[in-house]
């Protein structure tokens, strides 16, 4: 096949990304001409995302390599069911973010350039879409930077608020260092193997001799970059500051979508580049790692570190947004522990966890946004006694927090159940125990909020006026959080279909 034909053929599988790109451009253009209109841009974004979703569903999931480089039978990009699953999560959280933004006082009042906001959200989404499917270090790096650059601006979008600008600066400095370290790691890996395609890297590593130390250093540097995205310790330090400073809609999408993209590429990179095809015990569900790399031991330590640091620091937080930031670090730790198994069962648990995490975390952020828009504060002490003044919001928030803790019958319990069951089944009992202890610790800070809302006399003059939009969005998040706690079979089936990474 000639190169042009190959590219044209590849475009057939590239419709979702094209749709997102067009959404981005249209939003930019429309913003130029229709500055006055308030709802046009979000509606256009939503339409764009829905179309993207439509194409994601209709595009076949096992395309083979796209944009082949010609020489070998590998390419820059791939669409498989694994990527599709993460794209769904990313798309859903983008849609929710747009809906949140329409209702957010923060976004609507503190900036005049809302057009750029929605356009950047689209480019942010496009970056994440690309990141989940990239199979070449070049595409990985470019997609990674696309996500980062968009999110730097978004985090500082309400730039007149000092803490937002500060968050943005911290984010970009930390992010630039992390990506600098990552790209240096990539250059070493390129020097070691002579190729940038992760499938070819695997082929090289399996068949040639190489210096193990160099490979470990390069691999760690690259993982450091991905670890920055998923806020894995010790690369997580930016998370609380940025989450607290950024507009809450952006915090919400960062905590779910950008983490999902980070996890997708972390799993894909480690699994594709370091799996040992030749290993005799390579079964359908197991995958052996190349000899000489005990990635799982490193990951186990990092996951314990991540969840413990996140949970312990969260105990002290008075700002609800910051508390949720630490809690999201802890959740990244839980999910990372599923990856430690290096087994499809663990990946299945991560996929399930992510879908549930999407609903409960976005839900918690949404309610916090609604309350703090009215209350003008995110301080937990200011939530005192709100339980009787805003029963709907506070009960919803309670359900989301209970689910984040992982107490039945909420979906959060199912997420943790599958995760810890996978750990126990594969002999990582101690890790499961650490996870359980951490969940118990997290109970304290989540329930402190609930206690403040319901068991104390009210002090504020808060008045609630519930709008239909608030109720509808809350319900669309509440229902999955509760229903998946009891009826989770379809979710499991979807996740089971999605653990297939191309080539395995």
């Amino acid at each position: 096949m000639d190169k042009l034909g190959n590219i044209l053929h590849s475009l057939n599988f590239f419709y979702p990304e094209i749709a997102l790109t067009l959404t981005f451009f249209i939003l930019l253009l429309v913003d130029l001409f229709f500055r006055k209109s308030k709802h046009l841009l979000p509606v256009l974004s939503l339409i764009g995302y829905v179309i993207t979703g439509y194409f994601s569903f209709t595009t076949p999931n096992a395309s083979g390599f796209l944009f082949s480089t010609g020489m070998a039978n590998v390419g820059l990009y791939i669409t498989d069911s694994f990527a599709f699953y993460f794209k769904l999560i990313i798309l859903l959280s983008l849609i929710y973010t747009v809906l949140f933004s329409i209702l957010s006082k923060e976004i609507n009042e503190s900036t005049e350039n809302r057009g750029e906001y929605y356009a950047l959200l689209a480019s942010f989404g496009l970056g994440m879409f690309l990141l989940t499917s990239s199979t070449d270090l070049i595409t990985i790096y470019l997609a990674f930077e696309m996500v980062s650059l968009s999110s730097y601006i978004l985090a500082g979008f309400t730039r007149k608020v000092p803490r937002s600008a500060e968050a943005s600066l911290k984010y970009i400095i930390f992010g630039a260092v992390a990506s600098g370290v990552m790209i240096y790691g990539i250059s070493i890996l390129y020097g070691l193997t002579g190729t940038t395609n992760i499938y070819l890297i695997n082929f090289y590593l399996a068949n040639q001799n190489y210096n193990t130390l160099t490979l470990v250093i390069a691999g760690l540097m690259i993982i450091g970059g991905f670890g920055f995205k998923i806020s894995m310790a010790p690369f997580h330090f930016w998370t609380p500051d940025v989450y607290e400073g950024a507009p809450i809609t952006i915090t919400a999408v960062l905590s779910v979508a950008s983490k999902a993209a980070g996890f997708a590429i972390l799993i894909r990179f480690l699994k594709v580049a370091f799996v040992d095809y030749a290993a005799t015990n390579l079964q359908a569900s197991l995958w052996a790692i190349l000899p000489g790399f005990q990635w799982n031991d490193i990951l186990a330590v990092l996951s314990v570190l991540t969840m413990t640091l996140g949970n312990l620091a969260a105990l002290w937080q008075n700002n609800l947004k910051r508390m949720l930031a630490y809690s999201s670090i802890a959740h990244a730790g839980y999910m990372l522990s599923g990856f430690v198994i290096l087994d499809n069962q663990g990946i299945l648990a991560i996929l399930i966890y992510f879908a549930i995490y999407l609903f409960m975390n976005l839900g918690a952020f949404f309610i916090v946004m609604l309350i703090s828009d009215k209350l003008g504060s995110e301080d937990i002490d200011d939530y005192t006694g709100l339980g009787y003044k805003a029963p709907f919001l506070t009960v919803s928030l309670t359900i989301f927090l209970v689910s984040l803790t992982g107490i039945p019958p909420t979906a959060g319990f199912i997420a943790k159940l599958y995760l810890f069951a996978a750990l126990v089944n594969t002999g990582w009992l101690w890790l499961a125990l650490v996870g359980v202890v951490n969940s118990v610790i997290s109970l304290y800070y989540y329930m402190r909020v609930v206690k403040n809302m319901f068991l104390r006399e009210s002090i504020s003059t808060y008045e609630q006026k519930i709008e239909l939009g608030h109720v509808l969005i809350s319900f669309s998040l509440l229902i999955p959080t509760l229903v998946f706690g009891v009826y989770f079979k379809p979710l499991i089936e979807l996740a089971e279909k999605s653990i297939r990474i191309f080539g395995f």
């Binding site: 260092v177 760690l220 069951a421 499991i492």
Partner: protein, 644 residues
């Protein structure tokens, strides 16, 4: 096939709960809330009834329909499906729960009128029915346990419903807490039992477990352990010795709640569970003995405490415990049919007694002490008549329902060779007749003793009509289970209906009744005489001549005090369990180690984590370069770790 859609019977109360729970506070009209709540339970009853008729049309062998909803949990070999089991046993329970539940819902519209938590009340009640239906229709232990915990939750919510009211010197919240803690002990047993079942059978599905258990007898020790643990769960929920102490306190809740949850339905869950797992229980003679003994002991023990109480709801609470004891006695001797039969009739007349008591309490403006009642006969005619019917039924006067069910229990106990337990049952029957007519006489007969400014009047129709319906059921409810000695084997509809459920367990029961019909008739006459003598004694001493009682009280003051103070069991429990844990940790351990061990340990662990957290968050200095520094050093550190 409506039976294939039995889940509607479960779903309707949930819909009611969602409507009332979510937008109930916006609905200003109480009638609307009340009828939404009642209506959905009524629909649920309708579905159950239609299924019932459909199942009666089936062959006996086909009367076991599993309605799968979805595969619930599937991790490795651990499979639990969300499925409902429709068989004669679960249908009886479903009909009782929704039928009596519906009547009590309707009654509550009148009873709870004007309460500020009106919508909350109906939401909780509907949630309760939903959970209870899950419990009785479950086709596996996990789903059953879910319902089991769910009804417990609703029970606590409703006991503490009037959280701002005082109750027995403490608050209703304390009563709810007590119920919560005591039930945890029982649930712990149930859970352990479930684990053991899974370990033994590799499944928690009723069908699979019971089929294996039917074909392959368990080792005696395993069977005993499993069933005793399950029974521990039953003693918690069904308020048997030693875990009965929460039920009298549970009367802190509104009276319809006492009628529905703490008399007619939830507390019978333990009996249902034993009956459902009968094929496991019959495999352990020890457990059967324990159940029968505890049932009989609870029956007489609770009845004796009921003799001297003065709170109208407390008397009924002890009566409930006592009647539940009867049901366990029946189960323990292997007469599961009799135990379910009594469960059903008891639901009718005990709900009626409670609702009647509610009507009285309502009329007297929240007065619950029977010493301050009296003479209500003329003011509350409907309540009076229905209460009389219920009292006669519980006392066991033919041909009311209570007679048939209680007599069958006594007869089966005797026939299975437990003559000692039979005598205890008989004495309990006497006490029952006595205390219930003491209550009746002090409430309705004689002169009024309540303050003269109160002018009691009959409750509205919405409350009296459920009373009348329940009264009718209390009268005719027993005819479905006429003694075989009168109508023959085939005439006992109830027995034949439940027969297929218990057939597997019957192979394990050895002692087949050996006595002749004449013996049964003689025993029947004896028990009627005993009941009548209890009634007449109560009438004599409380209407004609109170002296014997006064004499007894002075003569046996200590015994009276013992009964009045409920054998000091609450105090003993406080002394044995509560005090050592709460106070001992402070007092004794304090002296030795300067640490509050029991209290302190948990706290200090918590404080430890919080302190560590305080240190950890200090790393987050706010200076970005410091973060980057840690990142770089982190990478270097990991590389060093790998090198070493």
């Amino acid at each position: 096939m409506i039976t294939q859609h039995i889940y509607f019977a479960v779903l309707f109360p949930l819909i009611g709960f969602l409507i009332n729970g979510l937008i109930g506070y916006k609905i200003k009209n109480e009638k609307v809330i009340g009828w939404i709540g009642s209506g959905f339970v009524g629909l649920s009853f309708l579905v159950s009834l239609l299924s019932f008729f459909e199942v009666t049309g089936l062959n006996v062998a086909e009367r076991k329909i599993i309605v799968p909803i979805f595969q619930w949990i599937s991790i490795e070999s651990f499979n639990v499906s969300f499925a409902y089991l429709v068989d004669p046993l679960s249908l009886v329970l479903a009909l009782v729960v929704t039928g009596v539940g519906f009547l009590i819902h309707v009654y509550s519209i009148g009873y709870m009128q004007g309460d500020k938590g009106f919508w909350r009340f109906f939401a909780y009640l509907n949630l309760f029915i939903f959970m209870m239906m899950n419990l009785v229709l479950a086709d596996n232990f996990v789903l059953m346990f879910l319902g089991w915990e769910g009804v417990g939750l609703c029970s606590y919510l409703l006991i503490g419903f009037w959280y701002d009211r005082k109750f027995n010197g403490s608050t209703t919240a304390d009563a709810a807490k007590k119920a919560f803690i005591v039930n945890r002990i029982g649930d712990f047993g149930f859970l352990l039992g479930m684990f053991l079942i899974y370990k033994t059978f590799g499944s928690l599905n009723f069908n699979e477990v019971f089929t294996i258990a039917e074909k392959v007898p368990l080792p005696e020790a395993t069977a005993t352990l499993i069933t005793l643990l399950l029974f521990l769960g039953a003693t918690g929920k069904s308020a048997q010795i030693p875990l009965y102490v929460w039920l009298p306190d549970a009367m802190a809740g509104p009276t319809p709640v006492s009628a529905l949850i703490h008399a007619a339905t939830m507390v019978t869950a333990g009996v249902y569970m034993v009956s459902r797992a009968s094929v496991l229980f019959v495999q352990s003679e020890i457990t059967m003995m324990v159940i029968a003994a505890i049932g009989a002991a609870t029956a007489i023990f609770a009845a004796s405490m009921g003799l001297v109480q003065n709170d109208i709801k407390k008397i009924l609470a002890y009566s409930t415990i006592s009647q539940l004891g009867y049901m366990f006695l029946a189960a323990g001797v292997g007469a599961f049919t009799a135990s379910i039969f009594h469960l059903m009739t008891h639901a009718f007349f005990k709900a009626l007694l409670f609702l009647g008591a509610g009507s009285v309490i309502h009329a007297l403006h929240e007065e619950q002490n029977i010493k301050n009642m009296g003479g209500l006969k003329n003011h509350l005619p409907v309540t009076y008549k229905t209460f009389l019917i219920a009292s006669l039924a519980i006392a066991g006067i033919p041909p009311l329902s209570g007679f048939f069910s209680k007599d069958e229990i006594l007869w089966e106990t005797f026939a299975h060779g437990h003559s000692f337990l039979f005598v205890i049952g008989l004495i309990t029957a006497f006490m029952t007749a006595f205390y219930v007519f003491r209550l009746f006489n002090l409430t309705f007969e004689n002169k009024s003793r309540y303050p003269s400014h109160i002018h009691p009047h009959e409750s509205p129709k919405i409350m009296t009509i459920p009373l009348i319906i329940l009264a009718i059921l209390s009268i005719i409810g027993g005819f479905v289970g006429m003694p075989k000695v009168f109508v023959g084997e085939s005439g006992n509809f109830f027995y034949n209906w439940l027969k297929p459920v218990y057939e597997p367990s019957e192979t394990y029961l050895f002692n087949v009744p050996l006595y002749t019909h004449s013996t049964e008739i003689v025993l029947m006459i004896i028990s009627v005489i005993v009941a009548l003598s209890g009634i007449f004694l109560a009438r004599y001493v409380y209407l004609e001549n109170i002296k014997p009682i006064d004499w007894l009280v002075t003569k046996f003051g200590k015994l009276y005090n013992l009964l009045f103070n409920k054998y000091y069991v609450d105090k003993v429990y406080d002394l044995l369990f509560v005090e050592p844990i709460v106070k001992g940790s402070e007092r004794i351990l304090w002296k030795f180690s300067d640490v509050k061990l029991v209290d302190g340990f948990i706290n200090s662990v918590g404080e430890f984590f919080i302190e560590i957290g305080g240190l950890i968050r200090k790393i987050q200095t706010g200076v970005t370069q410091f973060y980057a520094l840690i990142m770089i050093f982190g990478i270097i550190l990991i590389i060093f770790m790998l090198l070493i």
